[in-house]
Subunit: 324 residues, 2 copies
């Protein structure tokens, strides 16, 4: 039996991170209306969410600014236009991908920025570069987390090496990321044990970022928090790449800390998220995502299937089973 | 860490029960086309499903036959028109509700019937009547299971009394039924422990029937099978009352017994289940079901909300929170 669990109580170290603009931005190329972003910010404050991730600090050298909404780049001024001096309990986060951002120039000193947390995203093969970015952000005064992506197809010994390396860095939080939505709760339990070992050794916190390919994003987040994972990512209506993420409204319903409120989340989904769907933005569980999750594959083929409005699931299954 | 779990292996005692016609029938008043039912039967055979539940044996005195499709009544002749002599490994099940069926006359001797399994459904307050029905079915030669519904708002001591009483009966399988979709995996673990105690004492099997109000139907089924629960209900595309059930295609993707095949399930969803949705049949996770699940309430208010095509979730929340 799990521990947070004691479903009647709560662990005050738990943090909720709203990743709607960032992971959801992967669905609509970050074209969110200003009104949407402002309302999301205000909703997060009312709901007691701890961090709001605005998007990516993507390289303007690598990516054409005219082809994406502004939250792919998260300029400090754009954030400030929403949050002002952010005189609230809600902290501001952005994600910076290893190899796809100009962090030395684009991330300025925290004292001059509205941002509180830099979330470094890395694959297992770029850990040393991630460490450089972590150090840079820490030296500039930020809280820093590190997402190790796509661990469901990693060698466990490689993962342990990465955790040991990152453990020795100044990172604050190490994230379990089920990029492919491939993991079952039992596997989350095992992986969380591994992370906890290094977290205990080096005094780090652990986070969970789940995908909903097998309708397990919420369940895996519950499993993680029961295993001692404190930082929990969620998005409103589960909006995120492909099958999406753990839904904020589900997570807030679970957590018993009285600082969290589900009602503002319900209102936001009602007013804003369903409108996105009506406008034709598509995300969430469907069989193509189940299949890539089951086969532990990147969802890009399933996203393409969705974009092409295909519904021949069985043909798709044959295509991806043969994809060696 | 859970046991079936050993996700690479399997437990040969596990049984998969397709409840699409029965729980799904609650969505469309059992109006399934003959072609659909025939294709479902053939799909179940190909997918290696163990039991197919055709619907209810509802009382024709209590319910007007002209107002429901035939699978609310599951006449033996109607089943036989689909399965013939059913010379397959797929067994046939029907559900009979305590107080809403004429089991003495409508359930004939198994030797004259295409049915193999009678699933008696009861609330906690009708256990003695359930025992009578169980004995009747057993005496007529059937396998018999018993669904104890709505246990999420039961007193634990009442549940134990019921399990002890049913344990002493000739029932074969005792079902955990999360009628309201209110339970978290941690609670399933505790409840399964309680069921297992009586199952061990009296030599019974345990089953799991989940609802998807909080996107946990599959996760709770995984939890249950890891706790030693052998009989697992699922429906194609999760079709079932309100938020629906554990999706067959997810469950077959989990189970490692080589007798199960996901491909026929994918084909069936592609060809038949999506067509139902296009025809306007509505089921599955949505915020109104999350809310009744979270509040541990019967989904009838949420079903009504759905039927009225309302989308004012926040008003609904206020209505049901106040519903004391």
């Amino acid at each position: 039996m799990k521990e947070i669990s004691k479903l009647m109580g709560y662990r005050s170290d738990v943090r909720v991170i709203d990743a709607t603009l960032r992971d959801g931005g992967l669905v609509n190329d970050f074209y969110f209306k200003d009104e949407f972003v402002k309302a999301l910010y205000e909703t997060n404050i009312k709901a007691g969410v701890d961090y709001m991730e605005f998007g990516y600090k993507a390289s303007k050298e690598m990516f054409d600014e005219s082809k994406f909404g502004k939250w792919k780049f998260c300029k400090d001024d754009d954030i400030r236009a929403v949050v002002g001096d952010n005189d609230t309990d809600l902290k501001i986060a952005v994600m910076a991908d290893v190899g796809r951002c100009d962090y030395k120039t684009d991330i300025i000193s925290r004292s001059d920025s509205p941002i509180d947390l830099i979330r470094v995203a890395t694959y297992l093969n770029t850990i040393p570069a991630a460490v450089k970015m972590i150090e840079d952000a820490k030296n500039k005064g930020y809280e820093v987390s590190c997402n190790i992506m796509a661990i469901s197809n990693a060698q466990e010994s490689d993962l342990k090496f990465a955790l040991d390396t990152l453990g020795q860095s100044c990172v604050d939080v190490l994230y379990i990321v089920d990029s492919f939505g491939a993991l079952y709760p039992e596997q989350i339990a095992r992986i969380a044990d591994t992370y906890m070992e290094f977290a205990a050794k080096y005094g780090k916190k652990i986070g969970m970022h789940a995908h909903n390919n097998q309708q397990l994003a919420f369940a895996n987040t519950i499993e993680a928090v029961g295993d001692g994972v404190d930082w929990l990512d969620a998005t409103y209506a589960g909006m995120g790449r492909g099958a999406g993420n753990c839904a904020m409204e589900l997570l807030l319903g679970l957590l018993r800390n009285p600082k969290y409120n589900i009602y503002p989340a319900i209102r936001f989904v009602e007013k804003y998220m369903n409108k996105l769907r009506e406008e034709g933005i598509v995300w969430g569980y469907d069989l193509q995502y189940l299949m890539t999750g089951l086969l532990n594959q990147h969802p890009r083929t399933a996203i393409q299937f969705t974009k092409e409005k295909r519904s021949d699931y069985s043909e798709f299954y044959k295509e991806i089973v043969a994809q060696d």
